[in-house]
């Protein structure tokens, strides 16, 4: 599904990613954890093609395609979805209308007929019910005046309608109460299938109680310093990120 090799990326001349290697297979859920400033969100944005980030070395292959060569909207049309950490507000643009435009743009790219309003509504209705979303959110402008929790729910709602092949969730759990957290997890879990993969970026172990990852990676200073199974997240929670940090400096000392 996704192969990241020796990925380096900078923003405003500062190197944030310093050689990421990661392989995500079809149907897998990977959790990426790490302290603040370790490069988690940068990785998410680089995968989505954010213009502020420059890739200086390395490669990313997505379903056999050179991802870094693709425009952000092409990546989206090829099935990559980023649930934003801070979803932007688009005043004046109706939430349902926005999502319909997105769905149809992707369908057009794939050579599928576009949905008319009625077909779209039918699809949306099911998803709303599934996620226990507030119906009125559909008629409000995109994220405009939404609470933090509503914005995150809206991201997950969009994800469940767009049905991506690779979903990247950038700290979708931060600032959520337990109910919202459950909605997010249900959204992710309902999309789980042998053809889809998910990268869950999170600071806390908490979300992983609801979304069971196949692999856990720890990011520190722009590199993956440790990979393991579910138990790694629990260990991290118990020992804290300083454990990784001290581990790292010890390793570096040993090299010297």
């Amino acid at each position: 599904m996704l192969q990241i090799k020796n990925l380096h990326a900078t923003v405003d001349g500062n190197e944030i990613l310093r050689g990421i290697d990661l392989e995500v297979g079809a149907g897998e859920v990977h959790a990426i954890m790490g302290p603040n400033g370790s490069g988690k969100s940068t990785l998410a944005r680089v995968l989505a093609g954010h213009p502020d980030y420059e890739v200086t070395a390395g490669s990313v292959t997505y379903r056999g395609l050179d991802l870094l060569e693709m425009e952000p909207e092409v990546r989206a049309c090829e099935g990559i979805f980023l649930a934003f950490q801070y979803p932007v507000e688009i005043p004046g643009v109706n939430n349902a209308y926005f999502l319909k435009a997105a769905v149809n743009s992707i369908r057009k790219y794939r050579g599928l007929p576009e949905y008319d309003a009625m077909e779209f509504l039918a699809i949306v209705k099911d998803k709303i019910k599934l996620l226990g979303m507030d119906q009125t959110l559909m008629q409000r402008p995109v994220n405009d005046g939404f609470s933090g929790g509503e914005k995150k729910r809206n991201e997950i709602f969009q994800m469940s309608v767009l049905e991506p092949t690779l979903a990247v969730l950038d700290e979708t759990d931060s600032g959520l109460d337990i109910d919202a957290l459950r909605v997010v997890a249900e959204g992710v879990n309902s999309l789980r299938s042998p053809e889809r993969s998910t990268i869950v970026i999170t600071h806390y172990q908490r979300l992983l109680n609801y979304i069971e990852p196949d692999f856990v990676h720890v990011l520190s200073e722009g590199r993956i310093v440790r990979s393991g199974g579910r138990e790694l997240a629990l260990e991290l929670e118990a020992k804290g990120y300083t454990w990784i940090e001290s581990d790292r400096s010890a390793a570096e000392l040993a090299v010297v």
């Binding site: 989505a48 502020d52 688009i90 209308y97 926005f98 999502l99 435009a101 402008p141």
Partner: protein
Amino acid sequence: MSTAVTSIEELATQDYKYGFVTDIEQETIPKGLSEDVIRVISAKKNEPEWMLEWRLKAYRKWLTMEEPNWHNVHYPPIDYQEIIFYAAPKPQKKLNSLDEVDPEVLATFNKLGISLDEQMRLSGVAVDAVFDSVSVATTFKDKLAEMGIIFCSFSEAVQNHPDLVREYLGSVVPYSDNYFATLNCAVFTDGSFCFVPKGVRCPMELSTYFRINAANSGQFERTLLIADEGATVSYLEGCTAPMRDENQLHAAVVELVAMKGATIKYSTVQNWYPGDKNGKGGIYNFVTKRGKCAGDNSKITWTQVETGSAITWKYPSCILQGDNSVGEFYSVAVTNNMQQADTGTKMIHLGKNTRSTIVSKGISAGKGQNTYRGLVKINRGATGARNYSQCDSLLIGDRCGAHTFPYIEVRNKTATVEHEASTSKIGEDQIFYCKQRGLSGEDAVNLIVNGFCKEVFRELPMEFAVEAQKLLGVSLEGSVG
């Protein structure tokens, strides 16, 4: 952020798809302006003496006036002696039906999507087509006449309905009103005339389509629209011009009169050639539009979508004279590249319980400069008057400008005046968000801009709302990467 800004700059190009020139035989008079020129124009139109006198009176007044300079637009001085004041497709003979209109002219209107004979067959819209300075065809005239509605070119009205023209011409915009309007009074060549009699609800949209074709010519058309007691009419004008390197002057006057209980809805989709991206060429659109709610309970609504012209200078206004009369102004003005717009409205409250609404949406991209200028005036007798104004500006990129000059004068204690304003910018983060959901940069801008303009588009007649959305897309093409 820096790379994102560069991409905006790089892609700030624009396509003007109406920029073709039609090759037809033209009849023009030598350039320049004098009493003789006015006499020639008047004679060509076979006008009665009073019409000529009115023109000359305006011309003499104009000579004493100075070009206004209070507006927030900049352009080199206009040499009025270099302008051709009359240009018309050479008439073969008197036209009796569409079949006799020069096929080249008909082809031009077809190309613009204004198929005149199509319009004849399909119901819905009656069109008066003005090519350069003269009206070439008016559709549905007979059908409208059955209901007593007069819809014809201004020249025909002068010939066939001189009493009506004489009574109302200059009754809303006097001949001495302002520099450009006074010039128009002296040299106007044609335009549309409409009279809807008492109690008649006009069954279709009336539309005038203006096309400037000839080089170096000015277009000075005049529209006069009267809705008698209890009458209702919806009117739309559209405008395009070829791409030329030099600037062309367009100074029109529109007068609306709404009698007791009458309703007039006047919508404009203005898409004159805006000039190229370096500011070369384009139309100077200096227009005076004003409506008078003369009778009680009358209503006038101006809706405008202004995407073209190098410079736009217009303030469609309402004089709310009748008690309980209503004035509305809904505007979307777009300036891209080097375009400048200074536009807004005046709401003059004279009668009791008069109400006005102003919704202005300014969009600036490229190096465009967009100014809203509005006056809300509540006179002493306007007890219980209300106004609500909303001025929103949207900026695309970081080299454009938005300016707002609201003037409020209140002379009656019972008045309620509200003003709201906002300025926002299409952010790179918004564009990226849309792209991440699969939309192209242009679709993203269109979506955001259309969302921004929604309240105004809602006021346009259905088929034109769709047109306006498309037009907006074309006008802002390439403004964001």
